[in-house]
C-alpha cells in the first residue's frame, strides 16, 4: 500500500508512476468531495524567498480550506537572510513553529537542502530554474482530466525550455507515460542537455524543433511557457527572444492541429498567448489554474498523514 505520510515533495524524480497516479486519484476525490477540517490545528509555513502570487495563494487557500493555519513571508527583505543567516539555520528555527514547510527560493536545490535539514515535510514551490513539482501534479491532473488518460500522448513544450522549470518537471513526469515529446524553442532557450539525457535513459522519444508549424498536427497537448525576463542576466538576450511565439485564435485557425488539442500554461502569461485564444476549445489553462487548489489540498493532507 502506498503511503506518502512525511514524504518531502522536492522533485518529480522522487515519485514513482504509481505514487503519481495515487496522488492524482486522491486529488480527484478531494475535488469531488470538497474541503473539510482535516488539517485543523496544523500550521503551514509559506517561505517565499522569491515573489509568487498564484503558487503562494493557492497553498494558503488549500491549507485554510482544510482548516489549517498559515504563517510565512513573501519577500527576501523580510527575512533574516539579509542579516546573513544561512538557509539551514533559518529553516531549522522555523521548523519549531510549524508542521510543514512550503518553500520557494531563487537558488536551485534550496528545497532539497531544506528537506535535508528539518524533520517535518518540505514542499518545493519552485527553486530557481530547477523543479516545480506541485505545478507538475496540477498539470498532470489537468491533462488526465481533459484527455481522459496520461498514456501515449504527444506533448509539445513551447517557449522557454532552458529556464522553464515547469516544463522540466512535466517532461520528467510524462516520461512515465510513454509520451512522445516535442521541444519547441529558439536555439538560445533549448531544453538543457541534462534533461534530455534523463529522458534518453528512460527511452523517451523526443524531438527538438524551432517552429511549431513543423509539429503542430501531431500534438495532443501543447504546454506553453512564458519567456521569463527575470531569468536573463543580459536584457539584450531577452529582447532577442521576447515575443517569438504568439498564439492567438487566428494563429490556431491557420495551424494544422488536432480538433481535440488542449493548450496548457502554468501562467502568468505575457504575450505568448493572446486573449482571443481563451474562448477556443483548445484553452484549458484557467481550468488548470483552478485545479491548483484540490491538488495542493491533496498534497498537504497526504504528507501530513490526514488522508490516504
Amino acid at each position: 500500500m502506498i503511503s506518502l505520510k512525511s514524504k518531502d515533495i522536492i522533485s518529480i524524480l522522487d515519485f514513482t508512476k504509481e505514487e503519481i497516479l495515487y496522488i492524482l486519484d486522491l486529488s480527484k476525490r478531494m475535488e469531488k468531495e470538497g474541503s473539510s477540517d482535516i488539517l485543523k490545528g496544523k500550521v503551514l509555513a509559506n517561505l517565499f524567498f522569491e515573489p509568487s502570487t498564484r503558487t503562494r495563494l493557492s497553498f494558503e487557500t488549500a491549507m485554510k480550506r482544510l482548516g489549517g493555519e498559515v504563517v510565512g513571508f513573501d519577500e527576501l527583505g523580510k527575512t533574516s537572510t539579509v542579516k546573513g543567516e544561512s538557509l539551514r539555520d533559518s529553516v531549522k528555527i522555523i521548523e519549531g513553529y510549524c508542521d510543514i514547510i512550503v518553500l520557494r527560493h531563487f537558488l536551485e536545490g534550496a528545497s532539497r537542502l531544506t528537506a535535508d535539514s528539518v524533520n517535518i515535510p518540505v514542499i518545493n514551490a519552485g527553486d530557481g530554474a530547477s523543479q516545480h513539482p506541485t505545478q507538475t501534479f496540477v498539470d498532470l491532473y489537468t491533462i488526465k482530466k481533459v484527455k481522459g488518460k496520461l498514456e501515449n500522448l504527444s506533448i509539445g513544450f513551447l517557449g522557454d525550455l532552458k529556464y522553464g522549470r515547469t516544463a522540466h518537471s512535466l517532461a520528467y513526469a510524462m516520461a512515465n507515460f510513454n509520451a512522445e515529446m516535442y521541444f519547441i524553442s529558439p536555439p538560445s532557450l533549448r531544453i538543457p542537455k541534462d534533461y534530455l539525457e534523463e529522458l534518453e535513459s528512460r527511452n523517451v522519444s523526443y524531438h527538438e524543433v524551432e517552429s511549431i508549424n513543423e509539429v503542430s498536427s501531431k500534438l495532443d497537448i501543447l504546454y506553453c511557457t512564458r519567456i521569463q525576463k527575470e531569468r536573463f542576466a543580459d536584457p539584450v538576450e531577452y529582447e532577442k527572444v521576447r515575443g517569438i511565439y504568439k498564439l492567438s485564435k487566428s494563429v490556431m485557425d491557420e495551424l494544422n492541429v488536432k480538433d481535440d488539442l488542449k493548450i496548457l500554461h502554468p501562467l502568468p502569461r505575457v504575450d505568448e498567448m493572446d486573449e482571443s485564444l481563451d474562448a477556443t476549445s483548445y484553452a484549458v489553462y484557467f481550468q488548470q489554474a483552478h485545479s491548483g487548489i484540490p491538488v495542493r489540498e491533496t498534497l498537504l493532507a497526504t504528507v501530513l498523514g490526514a488522508i490516504q
Binding site: R88, F106, L107, G109, A110, L113, D127, D194, E197
Partner: protein, 149 residues
C-alpha cells in the same frame, strides 16, 4: 629486460595508466609540490590501452581514499601500485564511487551548494562516460564539467 621509461622507486606508490592529458591534473590532486620525497612523472608514454599515458611515481607515500576517489574522476583507467622493497605488493584499479561528497564543485552557478556553507553532494549516474548528478540542483555534470576543490 624491459627498459623503464620512468625510473623505479623502492617504497611508495605508482599511479599508472593515466590518460596523458590528465597526468598533471592527477599530480595537482596529490599536491606533489608539497612532497619532500622523490616524485617521478612521465607523460606521453606509449600505451597499448590508452595510446598515450602518464605515470606518476611517488616515494614514501600511500594514497588516501579521498585521493583515490578524486583520481577516479579525472583518470578512470588509472591503476595504483603499492611498492615495498622495490616489489609491487598491492595493485588495484581506481573505482568511481557511487556518491561523492565534499571535493567537487557543482558547475551550476545558481546551485545552492555554491552559495551556502554546505558540503557538495553528487550521485554518480553513469561511470563510463562519467555523468554525475548534483544532489541539490539535480544538474548533470560530465568529465569536462568536473572541477575538484
Amino acid at each position: 629486460m624491459k627498459k623503464l621509461e620512468v625510473s623505479a622507486i623502492e617504497e611508495g606508490t605508482v599511479i599508472d595508466q593515466i590518460a596523458s592529458k590528465s597526468t598533471f591534473k592527477v599530480a595537482n590532486i596529490l599536491n606533489i609540490q608539497d612532497i619532500d620525497q622523490v616524485v617521478l612523472i612521465g607523460f606521453n608514454l606509449s600505451s597499448k590501452k590508452l595510446g598515450r599515458k602518464g605515470i606518476i611515481k611517488i616515494g614514501g607515500k600511500l594514497l588516501t581514499q579521498e585521493e583515490v576517489n578524486k583520481i577516479s574522476l579525472i583518470a578512470p583507467d588509472a591503476t595504483v601500485n603499492i611498492i615495498k622493497d622495490s616489489e609491487v605488493v598491492k595493485k588495484f584499479k581506481v573505482a568511481i564511487p557511487d556518491s561523492i561528497e565534499e571535493f567537487l564543485k557543482c558547475f551550476n552557478p545558481n546551485c545552492v551548494s555554491n552559495h551556502q556553507k554546505i558540503q557538495s553532494r553528487f550521485h554518480v549516474i553513469n561511470k563510463n562516460p562519467i555523468r554525475i548528478r548534483c544532489h541539490y540542483c539535480e544538474r548533470h555534470m560530465g568529465e569536462d564539467d568536473i572541477e575538484l576543490v
